[in-house]
C-alpha cells in the first residue's frame, strides 16, 4: 500500500471554496459560524475542529511574476487551500495519551473519534495549529484525509471537487516530484518566488500535504521552521530528573543535619 499525499498549488487555485464545501458535506462536519471576517473573501480564517479545508485569500502589493493586473500599482491576489499537514513526525500523534491518534496505512494521521477523551494535549503540540477541540462535543477533530474514501479506492472529497486540480491527490513520491517540476516550470515562466512548502529538513520530517506557494511561508501563516515538540523531551526530562535528584538530596540534608523540633 503506497503512501498518499496532497499537493495543493496556489498558482492554480481560484478561491472557489469547493474544497471547503465538499469536505464539510462529505464528512458531515458541523457549521462553525457564519462570520464575515472582512479579511478579503476568507470567512473561515483558520483550520479548526469544524474547518478541515481553509481557503486563504492573500492580497499582496507584489507584481505577480510576468502577469500584470489591470492596475497602476503592483498587486496580486493569491488563493490557497490549507489543510492538516499529516506530518511524517506528527506532534499530535506522539502526544496523544490514549492512542486515539494513529498513522493509517496510507501514511495519514487519523484521530479515532471513539477513543479520544478530549484531553487537549494534541492541540498544544501541533506546530501548525491544525487540531482543535469541538466545544459542544469535547473531542478533537481534524482532516481525516478522507480515510473512508481512500479505503474504498476513492480520492478525498476536496480533491474530487477542486475544479482546477489545484488540490492533487496521489502517491507521495510522485507528487513530490510533480511539485518540484511545477516550481521549476513556474520559475522558468517568471514566477521567481515560487517554492514548495514541505519542511523536510526539520524534525517534522516532511509533510504528506505539501504546497506550491508564491513568496514566504509566513504570508500563509505556515511556520517557516516547524518542530515536532518531542525534540524538547530530552532536555526537559534531563532537567526534571537532575532537579528531582538534587531536591531529594536537599530534603534529606534538611532532615539529616537539623535537630528534632
Amino acid at each position: 500500500m503506497s503512501l498518499t499525499a496532497f499537493l495543493t498549488d496556489t498558482t492554480l487555485c481560484i478561491g472557489c471554496k469547493a474544497c471547503e464545501v465538499a469536505c464539510k458535506e462529505w464528512n458531515e462536519v458541523p457549521d462553525d459560524g457564519m462570520i464575515w471576517s472582512g479579511l478579503s473573501y476568507d470567512n473561515t480564517k483558520a483550520l479548526g475542529s469544524s474547518t478541515w479545508r481553509h481557503v486563504m485569500f492573500l492580497e499582496q502589493p507584489v507584481a505577480a511574476g510576468p502577469q500584470l493586473a489591470d492596475t497602476q500599482d503592483p498587486f496580486r491576489w493569491l488563493f490557497l487551500s490549507d489543510v492538516c499537514k499529516h506530518c511524517a513526525n506528527a506532534g499530535c500523534l506522539e502526544a496523544c495519551p490514549t492512542g486515539s491518534i494513529v498513522r493509517t496505512e496510507f501514511g495519514s494521521v487519523f484521530v479515532q473519534p471513539d477513543i479520544c477523551n478530549g484531553c487537549g494535549y494534541c492541540i498544544v503540540t501541533c506546530p501548525f495549529g491544525v487540531v482543535d477541540r469541538r466545544p459542544d462535543d469535547g473531542r478533537v477533530f481534524k482532516c481525516t484525509f478522507c480515510y473512508d474514501r481512500q479505503r474504498a479506492g476513492l480520492v478525498p472529497a476536496c480533491a474530487k471537487a477542486c475544479p482546477t486540480e489545484s488540490i492533487r491527490f496521489g502517491d507521495l513520491d510522485a507528487l513530490r516530484d510533480r511539485a518540484q517540476s511545477r516550481v521549476e516550470e513556474l520559475r522558468h515562466r517568471g514566477f521567481q518566488d515560487a517554492n514548495i512548502y514541505d519542511p523536510t529538513n526539520s524534525s517534522v520530517g516532511g509533510v504528506h500535504a505539501f504546497f506550491v506557494i508564491l513568496g514566504q511561508p509566513e504570508a500563509y501563516n505556515f511556520p517557516p521552521a516547524p518542530e515536532v515538540p518531542t525534540v524538547y523531551l530530552r532536555g526537559a526530562w534531563t532537567s526534571a530528573l537532575i532537579s528531582a535528584a538534587i531536591l531529594f538530596a536537599a530534603v534529606c540534608a534538611a532532615f539529616a543535619f537539623s535537630p528534632l523540633r
Binding site: 492573500l58 506522539e94 495519551p97 477523551n117 475544479p163 526534571a240
Partner: protein, 345 residues
Amino acid sequence: MAQPGNMDSTRHPKATEERLDEIRREAGASAEPALGAGATSHTERAAKTDAAASYYNLPVLKEPTWTWEVSLYFFLGGVAGVSSSIALAAQLFHGDPALIRIALWMALAGAAICPVLLISDLGRPSRFLNMLRVFKIQSAMSVGAWTLVAFSGCAFLAVLANELLLRGFSSPIFVAMRWTGEISAAATGLILASYTGVLVGATAIPVWSENHTLLPTHFLTSGLGSAAGILELFGFFTPATQILGLLSAGIETFIGGSIEIRNRAVDAPLRHGKSGWFMRLAGTLEGPVALILRVAWGSSPAGRYAAAVCFIVGALASRFAWIWAGRVSARDPHTLFHLQTGKSN
C-alpha cells in the same frame, strides 16, 4: 433537491459522488480568473499589508483548552509528589513521627484529589480510562497518567502501613510495607511533581517550549516550598521546613529574576500585559517576599506562617499564570516566526 440547513437527517443526503461532481461543476462554471478581479479597489488595503509578515496577524497555533482544574492539579500534584519525599527523608533521618504522618496523608490526599481534577477537565470525562489504554513514553501526558496511578497506590500503601504501625500493630511486615510505600511513593512522587513541567515544555507554544528546561525545575521547587509551607501551617515549625522554605524561595527568586534579566521577546507574556503582571505577582510572592519573610522574620511562628502563606499563594497563582501565558503566546504569530527564522526583535 436537498434542502439547505437540513441537518436533522442521520445520513446527510449530500454525501454522494454525484453531489461532489455537482459541486465541481458549479465551482468551475461560476468562478472567474483571479487576475483582474477587483484589483483597483483593494490596492490601498494591499499596500498596507506587509507581504511577508503574517496572514492578517491571525494566530498560527491553537490555544490550550485547559481550564482551572489543570492549573490546580499542577499545584496539588507538586505538593503531593514532594510530600512523599519529605516523608521518606524524615523517616530515614528519624524525624518527628507526627510530621511523617501528615506528609504521608498530604501525599494521599493529593493522590485522591488530582484524578478528579484531571477527569473533570477532559472533553469527554466518561472516557477517562482511555488514558490507560496505552503507555507511550514519548507522551508526557501518558507518563503522567500512569505515574499518578502508581503514586496513588504507593501513597495508599504507605499511609495504610503507617496508620497500622501507629495504632500498635507492630509487625515487621507493616514496617516493610511502610518502607516500600514510602520509597516508591517518593520516587513516583518526584516524577509526579516534575513531569507537568515536561508536559508543558514539550509543546509547540513558544513561551513554553523555549522554557522547557526551566519548567520542570520551577514546578518541582514550587512543589517543595508549598509542601514545606503546608506542613508549617499544620504547626511543624522545624528547622527542616525552614531550610526547605528558604531553599525554595531562593530558587524561585533566582528563576523569576533570570526570566526578567534575559529579557527575551518570547518571554513577553511572562513580563508584559495582564498575563505578565499576574506572573510577576505570583513570582514575587513565592520568590523575594517569601524569602525576605523567612530571613527577617523566620524565628517566630507568625513570620513562618506569613512566609508559608505567601509562597503557597504565589505557587498556586504561578500555575495559573503559566497557562495564561501559554494562551497569549499561542495567539502571537510574529514571535513564532521571528523565533523560527532567527530574526532578532
